[in-house]
Symmetry: C2
Subunit: 281 residues, 2 copies
């Protein structure tokens, strides 16, 4: 595995592999089995696998956890090696953002719901770094987890609207044995919160079940919220159901429904979601 | 020369030419010797030359000349064939913008001066279409005229900040025998205005000369403006001198100075500019 810290080195490697298929897994590091699933899929599909680890300042708000976002490069390097990664790109913030151009990407409507509401500018920052990384790596396919459903929906829309020559591959959320979605931020949970945290997933399952039985989305959302409030010490940011991937209110024409939640614990804000096909009624 | 109207056809051609160097000349059509200079340079530098003709709605304001922008596809096709273009991309607006994603590119500070001031959103629209075209054509080099100096500066900054894998080539402004910069919009000038229009260029030369002699930029600008006011029936939008390519006020550290002007005639707004190296004083 080649470890690359500069854009020039990366460009050189990409330029000599123009005839190969490249699978790309962009990450913020502190890799877990969720990332592993992305890397495994990329390894199967492509000649070359490129992974990046970059805790992107542009997608953190002023009061968010940029500085204390968990990092462990040694363990990440080992995991990437084991997953068969060919090139691991580890740029510095200075390397990625040497100067302020004043030119930005604004997500608009898709960023006003779910996580976007409590994280203004977050998805603008995601698209900024994704654009740069896609241009540098020039991947055939790029792999993203369903765990970040809104991010995936926005990237998919962006890639399509701006004709990026890359295929976005969606990979299912990987869960702990009790059902908690794998996340780098789970490390911030206290022992007590870790036990409670599985109830985000349970609440989503209960809400979806209620909806499938009654077709009453409001009652379903209410049931999910009550479950989180009764079973955790966390504070609900949102629990919502929207059509996927356009993130609009559910209507008769909706095909897939996203049940998504975000909950603040003492030192971590966790998110989770499930997707359900809408049956004709 | 292949004439291509759909994105799918274009993608197919690009995908079988991955091992070739591609020179790209994006235009809005009504081609003249300025475009020809871009095409000639692209022809010399690359294996394959792709040109596009697309009058991009996203870069026209509500009261601008989108509907009456001059078009002559037959003549353009002939000129492109003669210039050795391999692929001429002629998409419809529906093909380029099938749906509104809500995701936009905002230029910020660089778009607040010169033409940006009287054409709000113009450069945002330019970057939108350029991003799409670059992703579709995947050029090795793309060619732009110095005539649109602010556009060139913004595209250069954008390509660098967002790591597009393309080299931007700047090509000198081509002029009529009397000195008027070639432009598709010159066709809108009355006979009388056509005679006057060369004084935009003269005014820029006079201003630059005054500045080089006196080092007094305000006096230089004033001299240029008086020249246009005295010799044309046009209304000055701006005549300014800025450092290039960052479009900031000229300081001791400035290396290149852009003298640029825009003048409204009855049915056309013309622009012109010259670049001067700043000598140490």
């Amino acid at each position: 595995m080649q470890i690359v810290q500069t854009i020039n080195e990366l460009k050189q490697i990409i330029s000599v592999n123009k005839d190969k298929t490249i699978g790309f897994v962009p990450t913020m590091g502190y890799l877990h089995e969720g990332h592993q699933a992305l890397l495994n899929k990329a390894r199967i599909d492509n000649d070359i696998v490129v992974a990046s680890i970059f805790v992107n300042p542009a997608q953190f708000g002023p009061n968010e956890d940029l500085d204390r976002y968990p990092r462990d490069i040694d363990r990440d390097t080992e995991l990437a090696t084991d997953a068969g990664v060919d090139v691991l790109f580890l740029p510095s913030a200075q390397e990625m953002y040497p100067a302020e151009s004043g030119i930005n990407i604004t997500v608009g409507d898709l960023s006003t719901k779910l996580c976007g509401e409590s994280r203004p500018g977050h998805f603008d920052g995601v698209l900024k770094v994704i654009t740069k990384l896609f241009h540098l790596v020039q991947p055939t396919k790029a792999y993203f987890g369903q765990k970040d459903a809104q991010q995936l929906a926005i990237i998919q829309t962006f890639v399509s609207a701006y004709n990026f020559p890359v295929e976005i591959v969606r990979v299912q959320t990987v869960r702990e044995s009790d059902g908690l979605a794998k996340s780098s931020r789970n490390v911030f949970l206290s022992e007590h919160e870790r036990v409670e945290a599985v109830h985000l997933y349970h609440a989503l399952l209960l809400a979806a079940e209620k909806w499938e039985k009654t077709n009453d989305l409001n009652a379903a959302i209410a049931k999910g919220k009550v479950h989180i409030e009764s079973n955790t010490s966390g504070k609900i940011d949102y629990l919502q159901a929207l059509s996927y991937p356009d993130l609009q209110p559910v209507t008769d024409k909706t095909k897939e429904v996203l049940f998504a939640t975000a909950v603040f614990f003492e030192k971590a804000r966790l998110i989770d979601n499930i997707l359900k096909e809408k049956k004709d009624v």
